[in-house]
């Protein structure tokens, strides 16, 4: 009683077939893109990947500012960045690719200028900002520092 014979008029059915075909082609394309050894950006990761790999290292960003008197301040990134993804403690800066890319100096510099400006709003004027990732091994507790760079920010504000 719940189903019946197919009853879609010709032109509408043709359009529906095109959309179904497009959907199927996209799915096929995603498989080929992930499996074939295609050059450059033609090759891509599997779609809908969630927790596809995870190592023992976890990292947090540490930003340290130097003010005009030379005093060093650890910047409260949790106050500067408020929005965290879902129920995680992953803030917007975790997704800034430049912070993990040695060649992304422009992005890193822009990020340093941004946190310096936000610190200025909190009443601390900085002349430079040092950025580094602190990695912690979940098995051993060992920590490693990975400097991103030190950026002059005094003239930017």
């Amino acid at each position: 009683m719940t189903t019946g014979p197919p009853a879609v008029p010709g032109p509408l059915r043709r359009q529906a077939n095109y959309i179904i075909a497009l959907f199927a082609l996209i799915q096929l394309g995603l498989v080929l893109r992930a499996t074939l050894p295609l050059p450059g950006k033609l090759h891509g990761p599997w779609p809908w990947r969630m927790f596809e790999r995870r190592g023992p290292w976890e990292r947090v960003l540490r930003a340290t500012g130097v003010d005009r008197s030379g005093a060093r301040h650890e910047l409260p990134l949790h106050r500067i960045f408020r929005y965290a993804r879902g129920m995680t403690r992953l803030y917007a800066y975790h997704q800034i690719e430049a912070l993990g890319d040695p060649a992304g100096i422009a992005g890193q510099s822009a990020f340093a200028a941004y946190v310096a400006r936000r610190m200025g709003e909190l009443g601390v004027d900085l002349v430079s900002v040092d950025l580094r990732w602190i990695s912690t091994n979940l098995d051993t507790g060992q920590t490693e520092e990975h400097p991103i760079g030190t950026f002059s920010v005094g003239s930017r504000r």
Binding site: T2, R53, V115, L138
Partner: protein, 308 residues
């Protein structure tokens, strides 16, 4: 004797065409489509509600401008000021409520998609995972016959189910692709290491169950295999009538377990579990429609509210 193979092949093609037509173009009552019209905007409002306090951080005052890669490739749109973002979000909320109520839903649908394009594309927290799935479902939902549940005579409207089938296929593909991403594209799932470090890490783990009962690597290995098997089972078994209830139970169980042990947004679990009613047969929808008081209240409201 010579013609037998050709006849066989033709009959196979005919059978395949008939199966294809049955799968996509059979007419059925539009309960599921109307469910999507109500559930998807409600979920989308839930997605944007927690963002309201952070619109400045998310859309205007950003450290590094990072539009969605699709926007970057298309040459980018101008970045809107905060007041315009607020207008956009409020317009979206209003459109979603109106859409869910079924008032001019077909007209509002492209407006909602355009607003989502900007709000998801220019969000500093690049959309992925469940946000992306919801956006694709908004695109597919345009092809659902959600406009009205009953015709003027009071009978439930029947329409071809191809749009619904595409939405269901997309949902299944998420689980199946996820298994491929973990096993073929990823690593650490067969030996349990990925799940072990996810549950022990501070980014997603050490949360409720994973904090109270830390798992060993051996347990994580077993849980990893169960996860892979569950995802495969949900992706495939929802399509067969006999296994569908079990697949739904596994799906709900998997998401409840994840919600109680990992720092993944409840919105993700709600979106995935919220897809399960799409797999209900029209007969079950009909019984629910007749039995559920909520539906009666909703029908009464529909009679009171102005219609198109």
């Amino acid at each position: 004797m010579i013609e037998q193979p050709a006849a066989k092949s033709e009959s196979f093609a005919e059978r395949a065409a008939a199966r294809y037509a049955d799968f996509f173009f059979t007419e059925e009552p539009v309960f599921a489509a109307v469910y999507v019209r109500i559930a998807l905007p409600l979920w989308t409002m839930g997605f944007f509600a927690p963002r309201l306090s952070y619109l400045r951080e998310l859309y205007t005052d950003r450290a590094v401008h990072m539009p969605h890669p699709w926007f970057a490739r298309l040459g980018e749109l101008p970045e809107l000021p905060l007041w315009a973002v607020w207008m956009g979000v409020l317009a979206l909320m209003l459109a979603l409520i109106t859409f869910a109520a079924g008032y001019r839903a077909r007209t509002l649908h492209p407006v909602i998609v355009l607003l989502l394009c900007y709000l998801l594309g220019y969000d500093v927290s690049t959309v992925r995972g469940y946000g992306q799935l919801a956006f694709y479902q908004w695109l597919i939902a345009y092809f659902l016959p959600y406009d009205r549940l009953r015709d003027p005579s009071g009978a439930v409207v029947r329409a071809p189910r191809w749009g619904l089938r595409v939405a269901m296929l997309l949902f299944s593909s998420v689980y199946l692709f996820s298994v491929l991403a973990k096993t073929v594209g990823g690593e650490g799932w067969f030996d349990g290491k990925t799940l072990y470090y996810t549950l022990h890490g501070h980014d997603y783990g050490t949360f409720l169950l994973s904090e109270w009962f830390p798992v060993s690597l051996d347990t994580a290995r077993v849980l990893g295999w169960i996860t892979l098997a569950s995802e495969c089972f949900v992706g495939l078994a929802l399509w067969a009538r006999r296994t569908r209830p079990w697949a739904a139970v596994v799906c709900v169980g998997m998401h409840v377990t994840m919600a109680l042990s990992m720092r993944v947004s409840v919105l993700f679990h709600l979106l995935m579990i919220g897809h399960l009613p799409l797999f209900l047969s029209p007969g079950v929808w009909e019984r629910l429609g007749n039995d559920a008081r909520v539906t009666r209240v909703f029908s009464a409201l529909r009679r009171v509210l102005p219609s198109e």
